[in-house]
Subunit: 222 residues, 2 copies
DNA sequence: TAGATTGTTAATCGATTAACAATC
DNA sequence: TAGATTGTTAATCGATTAACAATC
């Protein structure tokens, strides 16, 4: 399908475009040029035009792109016109921090359930979110329509949890542990590894410092 | 200097190489071929050889690379032969989760202090780590030799905190907020943005699913 | 019409990979 | 010597960017 034209690099920039556009919309800007948007996000204007063209988003020559239309279209591309209920596996410090982070619900990723294997935690609530036993994962995924699983357990449990998520029918996994996980092709995985980020920082710090980017994408304005 | 030959892509793979090598060392493997290491990390063997060559790490033709030597050299490149004391700004749920994550100290990134502006928290401890007022940042950075600052505050405080870290002389910042920060060239920033990661997941989930990689690098074995 | 800005082609750049001579 | 594997060249691939005709 046409979707194959959208590169991973483009997808990685979409959240940054959206964030900049939402601020522009607040400023009541009706249109935005590729030059302006590029400057806000820290990329080349031609890259912006190419990215938008790959999404079949068109602007108006001599004028620019309609901000509201851009926000709408990019949101649709990112699936933000619907909710993606999240389950967090691991009700430790990280799991509780995620549960307490209201920003996720605001952005369409409400955490609906926490899972753990510690009997003392089962049946309690964290920030109003129930904690259930990992054995109840499959049933809960079906019951609550969970779309995304977040692995927030100790590293040595990561693969086991990933397997459980996969058998429960989950198609998207965010892995916070230091260990890579192996999943079938149909499942999409991203990893957030704090220790790796720190190691990359120390590499550049130790040398004269080049500039490093976040998340593999130039998200930081220079 | 010679350092300019090392690409950001190579740097991003170093932590994954190191992780695989440490497991191999545990298996008492004395040497490893580029083929084997490539398979463990999920990259092409030629990429492994090219990456190592760019670090001036040599192997032995017909034999492979010495595992202990690789571990040592890559560790040195990543600055892991020394400690990088960390300060976490924000003693909320995320800050406390980080403080309780022993993995960071084990990997050479001990959290030495938390900072907040909530008087009720100042003077308390989290997992044995003191919480001080943000006003004391510069003094504490000097006193404890802090090398890395982690921004774990609400998003709207990110730039202000970044400015404070920069004036305190910090050269490496890990930003957990949804907002990009602007810093001088000498400062290295990486960002971990959970909402962005989830948006990228939902993009792929919504479509037939391609495969996405974590951290901008193919860290997940397929 | 004159100025602005898109949409897209062609050039460039950088990273990946195949292939193979060198050599252990 | 025969087999294995590196180190590196050259080819390939994909992404970025300059440039500009199209057109609002």
């Amino acid at each position: 399908m046409s979707s194959s034209e959208i590169s991973a690099a483009t997808v990685g920039r979409l959240p940054a475009y959206l964030r900049a556009l939402i601020e522009l919309a607040g400023d009541e800007s009706a249109t935005v040029s590729s030059d302006h948007l590029a400057e806000l996000v820290g990329v080349n204007p031609a890259t912006v035009r190419r990215d938008l063209a790959s999404l079949r988003i068109t602007g108006t020559r001599g004028v620019g792109y309609d901000v509201k239309y851009l926000v709408f279209e990019i949101s649709v591309e990112l699936g933000l016109n619907q909710e993606w209920p999240v389950a967090v596996i691991g009700a430790g410090n990280l799991g509780r921090a995620l549960a307490n982070y209201a920003g996720l619900t605001e952005r369409g990723f409400p955490i609906r359930c926490l899972f753990d294997t510690d009997q003392a935690k089962i049946g309690t609530e964290v920030a109003g979110i129930p904690v259930r036993h990992l054995d109840d994962l499959a049933g809960t995924v079906a019951e609550l329509g969970i779309a995304v699983g977040v692995i927030a357990t100790p590293a040595d449990g990561a693969q086991e949890v990933a397997d459980a998520l996969v058998s429960a029918g989950i198609g998207s996994i965010l892995n916070f542990t230091a260990h890579p996980i192996i999943v079938p092709d149909r499942v999409v995985v991203r990893r957030v590894d704090i220790a790796t980020e720190l190691q990359i920082l120390s590499f550049y710090q130790q040398r004269g410092v080049g500039t490093s980017t976040g998340t593999g994408v130039p998200l930081e304005v220079r």
